[in-house]
Amino acid sequence: MKLLRGLRVLVVEDEPLIAMELQDMLQDLQCEVVAAAGQLESAMTLAETCDFQLAILDVNLAGQRIDPVADIIAKRGRPILFLTGYGKDGVPSIVSARVLEKPYQLGALRRALHDASGAI
C-alpha cells in the first residue's frame, strides 16, 4: 500500500466512464492522477511533457492503437500498465510492461500497479 501512495500516474483511457472509475480507483489507492487523456494526440503530448512515474494505457483509443504513446513512455523509461479488452495478444510488445485485462477489480489493479511500479 505504502509503495503506491503518492505515485504519480498518467491515465490514458478513451471510454469516459471507465476513465472516471479508474481515476476514482487510483484515488482510493492514494495514487496521484497527474493527467488523463482520451485521445491519441493529447495522450502523446502528455506522454512527452507530463511528469509522471507510471502510465496506465488503454491499448485502443477510438480505433487507434496506443503504440506511439507507449513508445514515447518506454523511451522515457517509465513503467507502463496496459489495459485491454483484447487479451494479452493485442498488447504492444514492451518487455517491462504489465497488462491488466478489462473488466478488473480494485485488487487486481493494485497488484498490477505493484508489479509495474516494482519494475521501476
Binding site: D14, E15, P16, M20, A37, G85, G87, E101, P103
Partner: protein
C-alpha cells in the same frame, strides 16, 4: 591295174569263165548287179557282193573288209573261214604282209598264185595252210572320190591265177559294190540323223512336260542309248569333294545309280570332259592315252564312247553326259552334235526345275507363313484373281474354296460397301499400288465385322506385279476399344471442364501434359501450356513451391493436400487447396503427377474476418462489462441507499442498452441523433410528452460517440426530471440539433434548452453527471457549454462527426 605276183606258176587251174564261154560271165555280172541294186542293207549287200565275187572267180572262200577311220581294214563278211581266222585277221592294217595289207598299202589289186612257192609270203604260210588256201587275190574298193572304202578278197584252195577277163569283170562289179557301200552309208547317215533329230525333239518335248527331273534323266539316257545304238549311257552330276555321282543311266549294273561316283580329276574321262570345252570322243578305251580308263567303264567292258559337259545357266559345269559302247564304234559329227543337243536340253530342264523348285519352295513357305498368322490371308494373281486363301478365311467366312475362287469373295461383302471396295481394288490392280481399306466381312455366323484389309503386290526383278498378298485383320474389338477410349476421354474432358477448379497433369519432369480450361487460363497466359514447366510460367519462388509439393506427392501413393499460394497479376494473393497425387503407368510405377486446385482465398479471408470478429466481440463484451462495472461503481459512490442505487444504476444500464440496440440495427455503423434523443427522453414522455420538443436533421454519429452521447443525454434528462424543467408540471424542454462547422471539421451542435422550470442553480459539488460530461468531451473531442440562467438549464454540445476507426466499435 592288177598286179600279179607270178613268182610260182606251177599247177595253174584253168579259169571257169573262159571254159564256159564269153557270155556266161557277163550274164552272171548282170544278174549280180541287178540283185545288188535292189538291196538296201549294208550287211546283206556285202554278203551278196562276196558271194558274187567268189562265184565270178570260181574261188573257194573269201572275205570283204571295210576301211575304218583309223585306216584299218575290218572284216565285214566272210565265207569259208573258221572262227580262228576271223579272230586272228579281223583287222588288217597297211603294214600287214598279207595280200590284203599290201593291196591297201599299194592301192592296187594283189594276186598271189601260190603262197607255198612265193617267198614274200612265207610269214603267211602257216596261216594259209591252217585255213586251207594257196592262192589269193585282194581288190580294193574305191569310192567316188578315189579313196579306198574296203577290200574284196577271194581265196583258192589250190594254186590259181584269175584270167584277165575274170579280173576285168571283177573290177566292174567292184565298182558297183563300192557305189553300193557309199549309197548305204549315205542312207545310214541320213537315217541316223533323222532318228537323232526325232530323239532330240521327243526329249525336248518330254523334258518340257515332265516336272520330275529324275524321270527326264531316265528318259534321256534311254533315248540316247537307243538312238546312238550304244549299250551304256550316263548322267553324272558334280558333287562336292571333286567327284561326280552317277545320277541316271542305262546299261549299268544294279545298285550303281545314285550311288557310284567317279573322280572329277583329269585321270577319268568324265573329269577330262569337265576340263575340256569340246566333247571328248574315245574310239578305244584300251588305247586311250589322255586319261586312264576309269574302273567304272572298264568294269562294264566299255570299248568306245563320247561325253560332253552339261552346263548350268551361268555356264558352269553341272555334270557330264556320256554314251558308251562295248564295241568299237565310230562317232560321227552328227552323233556328237546329237549328244550335245541332248546335254543342252538337260541343262535347260535342270535350270527350269531348279527355278520351279525354288518358286514352289517360296510359294510353299509363303503359304505356310500365311497359315500361321492370326489374320485372314490370301494370294491373288497379278490380275486380281484369287488363287488361295488360308484356313482362317474359310473358318471365319464359313465358305468353301469353290465358292471363293477368283472373284467369289464378293459374296461375303456388304453390298453397300462392295462397289467402293471393287473400285479401289481394281484401281490397285491397274496401278500396282498397295491396297488398304477397312470394310466389313460377313462371318459364318452372319455378322458383319470390320476388317482392316491390306494387299501388297509381289513383284519380279523388273518390278512387274506377279502376285498379290492380302490380309484381313478383324478390328471390331479395336474399334470398340477405340470408341470406349474416345468416350472415356470425352467424359474425362467434360468432367475436368466442369470441375469448379483447376485440374492438370504433369510428367515426371514437371512438364504439363494436360490442363483443363480453367488451368490453361490461369497458367497458360504466355501461350501454349503443354511441354512447359512451372519454372517457365511462374516466378522462381512460386515454381519452387509447386515443384517441391509435386515431388512430395510422388512419394505418397495417396498423394498430398496442401495450401499453395499464388500472386495474381493484379498483385492479389490467392490461396488454393491443392490435391497432388502420383498417377501410375501400366508398369505400376508413377509416370505422371495429377493436380486439382480449388481457390480458397475467400474462405481464408472469411476465416481471418471471423477470427477478427470473435476477437472484437470479446473485446466489446469485456469493454461493455467494464463500462457496466464503472457505471455500478460510480453510481454506488454517488448514492445513499440501495433503492436509489438500484433505480439510478438500472436507468444508466438501460441508456447503455439503448445505444447498443440502435447500433445493432445499423450493424454498428452508427446511430441517428434523433433516435438517441428519443430514446433518452422516452422514460419521461409519458407524463410530459407535450412539454418536450425536439427537432433536427437526420444525422448519424459514430458508434463510439453514440454510446457516450446516449449516456450523456440520459444524465441530462434525469437531471431535468429531478431538478430541472421536467420536475415541475409546466416546465418545458426543447432539444434542437444541426450541422455546424468547427475548425474545418463537420460537427453536430445539440442545443438542450429547459424553460419554465424551477430555475437553474449551478451545483456546488461536481456530481456523476458533470464528471461524465467533462470526460465525454475529452473523448468526443467535443466542446460543451453549460449555463444556469433563471428560466432554466441550458447546455450546448458540439460533437465532431468523425468516422470510427477500422477495427474498433468503441
Amino acid at each position: 591295174m592288177a598286179r600279179l605276183d607270178r613268182t610260182a606258176q606251177t599247177g595253174l587251174k584253168v579259169p571257169k569263165g573262159e571254159v564256159e564261154g564269153p557270155d556266161s560271165d557277163l550274164t552272171l555280172l548282170i544278174a549280180a548287179s541287178s540283185r545288188l541294186w535292189r538291196l538296201q542293207d549294208l550287211r546283206e549287200g556285202l554278203s551278196e557282193i562276196l558271194d558274187a565275187a567268189i562265184e565270178f572267180l570260181g574261188a573257194d572262200k573269201g572275205n570283204i573288209r571295210l576301211l575304218d577311220e583309223r585306216g584299218i581294214l575290218t572284216i565285214a563278211a566272210q565265207r569259208g573261214f573258221g572262227k580262228e581266222f576271223t579272230r586272228s585277221f579281223s583287222e588288217v592294217s597297211a603294214d600287214d604282209p598279207s595280200a590284203c595289207g599290201r593291196a591297201l598299202q599299194s592301192g592296187q589289186r594283189i594276186v598271189v598264185d601260190d603262197i607255198e612257192t612265193h617267198p614274200g609270203y612265207a610269214s603267211l604260210l602257216q596261216t594259209a595252210r591252217a585255213t586251207g588256201y594257196r592262192a589269193v587275190q585282194s581288190t580294193p574298193l574305191f569310192g567316188r572320190s578315189g579313196a579306198i572304202l574296203g577290200m574284196l578278197s577271194t581265196h583258192f584252195a589250190g594254186p590259181h591265177v584269175p584270167s584277165d577277163r575274170e579280173l576285168s569283170r571283177l573290177d566292174l562289179y567292184a565298182q558297183q559294190a563300192a557305189n553300193f557301200i557309199e549309197r548305204c552309208r549315205i542312207e545310214d547317215a541320213l537315217r541316223s540323223a533323222a532318228s537323232q533329230q526325232r530323239a532330240i525333239a521327243s526329249l525336248g518335248e518330254f523334258a518340257l512336260r515332265e516336272r520330275d527331273l529324275q524321270t527326264v534323266f531316265d528318259y534321256a539316257t534311254r533315248s540316247i542309248a537307243e538312238t546312238l545304238n550304244v549299250e551304256l549311257c550316263k548322267i553324272l552330276q558334280c558333287i562336292p569333294g571333286e567327284r561326280l555321282v552317277l545320277l541316271a543311266g542305262v546299261g549299268w549294273k544294279e545298285g550303281l545309280l545314285g550311288t557310284a561316283t567317279v573322280s572329277a580329276g583329269l585321270e577319268s574321262q568324265a573329269g577330262y570332259t569337265l576340263a575340256s570345252s569340246a566333247p571328248v570322243i574315245v574310239p578305244d578305251l584300251s588305247k586311250e592315252s589322255r586319261f586312264s580308263g576309269p574302273p567304272l567303264l572298264v568294269e562294264h567292258g566299255v570299248v568306245s564312247g563320247m561325253s560332253c559337259i552339261i552346263r548350268d545357266i551361268e555356264g558352269k559345269p553341272w555334270g557330264v553326259l556320256g554314251a558308251h559302247a562295248k564295241r568299237r564304234l565310230t562317232f560321227t559329227i552328227d552323233s556328237i552334235n546329237f549328244l550335245m543337243s541332248a546335254a543342252n536340253i538337260l541343262a535347260d530342264a535342270i535350270y527350269r526345275h531348279r527355278t520351279e523348285f525354288v518358286l514352289q519352295q517360296n510359294e510353299k513357305q509363303l503359304r505356310d507363313l500365311a497359315e500361321t498368322i492370326p489374320q485372314l490371308a490370301w494370294y491373288a494373281n497379278s490380275d486380281g484373281y484369287i488363287t488361295w486363301y488360308n484356313k482362317r478365311w474359310y473358318e471365319y467366312t464359313g465358305t468353301s474354296a469353290e465358292q471363293m475362287r477368283g472373284w467369289g469373295w464378293q459374296s461375303v461383302h456388304d453390298p453397300a460397301v462392295l462397289p467402293e471396295v471393287l473400285s479401289r481394288w481394281k484401281s490397285s490392280i491397274a496401278t500396282g499400288q498397295p491396297f488398304s481399306m477397312v470394310f466389313p466381312l460377313r462371318g459364318a455366323d452372319g455378322v458383319f465385322r470390320p476388317f482392316l484389309t491390306k494387299v501388297m503386290p509381289l513383284t519380279d526383278d523388273k518390278g512387274h506385279v506377279v502376285q498379290w498378298f492380302g490380309t484381313n485383320t478383324d478390328i471390331s474389338e479395336q474399334q470398340e476399344m477405340q470408341e470406349a477410349l474416345r468416350a472415356s476421354q470425352q467424359r474425362f474432358s467434360e468432367f475436368m471442364q466442369c470441375l469448379p477448379g483447376l485440374a492438370w497433369i504433369k510428367d515426371l519432369e514437371g512438364r504439363y501434359v494436360y490442363a483443363n480450361e480453367a488451368a490453361q487460363n490461369v497458367f497458360g497466359k504466355t501461350g501454349n501450356l503443354y511441354g512447359q514447366t512451372d519454372h517457365h510460367i511462374f516466378e522462381p519462388e512460386t515454381a519452387d513451391q509447386f515443384r517441391k509439393n509435386d515431388l512430395l506427392a510422388l512419394g505418397q501413393p495417396a498423394g498430398i493436400q496442401v495450401i499453395e499460394q499464388l500472386t495474381h497479376a493484379d498483385g492479389s494473393v490467392h490461396y488454393s487447396l491443392v490435391s497432388k497425387f502420383p498417377m501410375t503407368g501400366v508398369d505400376g510405377r508413377p509416370n505422371m503427377i495429377g493436380g486439382v486446385a480449388f481457390d480458397v482465398t475467400d474462405w481464408k479471408l472469411a476465416e481471418k474476418r471471423q477470427r477478427l470478429m470473435l476477437n472484437e466481440l470479446n473485446h466489446r463484451v469485456k469493454n461493455t462489462l467494464a463500462i457496466v462495472q464503472a457505471i455500478a461503481s460510480q453510481t454506488w459512490r454517488a448514492t445513499q441507499d440501495a433503492t436509489e442505487f438500484q433505480s439510478a444504476f438500472s436507468a444508466r444500464v438501460m441508456a447503455l442498452a439503448r445505444a447498443h440496440s440502435l447500433l445493432t440495427k445499423t450493424q454498428w455503423q452508427g446511430a441517428s441523433i434523433h433516435d438517441l434523443i428519443v430514446g433518452a427522453l422516452a422514460p419521461f414522455t409519458d407524463n410530459a410528452g407535450s412539454r418536450i420538443s425536439f427537432e433536427g436533421p437526420n444525422i448519424d454519429i459514430n458508434p463510439n460517440s453514440a454510446v457516450t452521447l446516449s449516456l450523456l443525454l440520459h444524465e441530462l434528462a434525469t437531471n431535468a426530471s429531478k431538478h430541472g424543467s421536467l420536475s415541475v408540471p409546466n416546465g418545458k424542454l426543447s432539444v434542437l440539433w444541426h450541422r455546424a462547422a468547427n475548425n474545418g471539421e463537420t460537427s453536430v451542435k445539440i442545443a438542450w434548452r429547459e424553460s419554465d422550470g424551477p430555475g437553474a442553480i449551478a451545483p456546488v459539488k461536481k456530481g456523476f453527471g458533470s464528471r461524465l460530461v467533462m470526460a465525454s468531451m475529452e473523448q468526443l473531442k467535443g466542446a460543451i457549454e453549460v449555463e444556469f440562467p433563471p428560466e432554466g438549464f441550458r447546455c450546448t454540445l458540439l460533437i465532431p462527426l468523425t468516422p470510427n476507426g477500422p477495427t474498433s466499435f468503441y
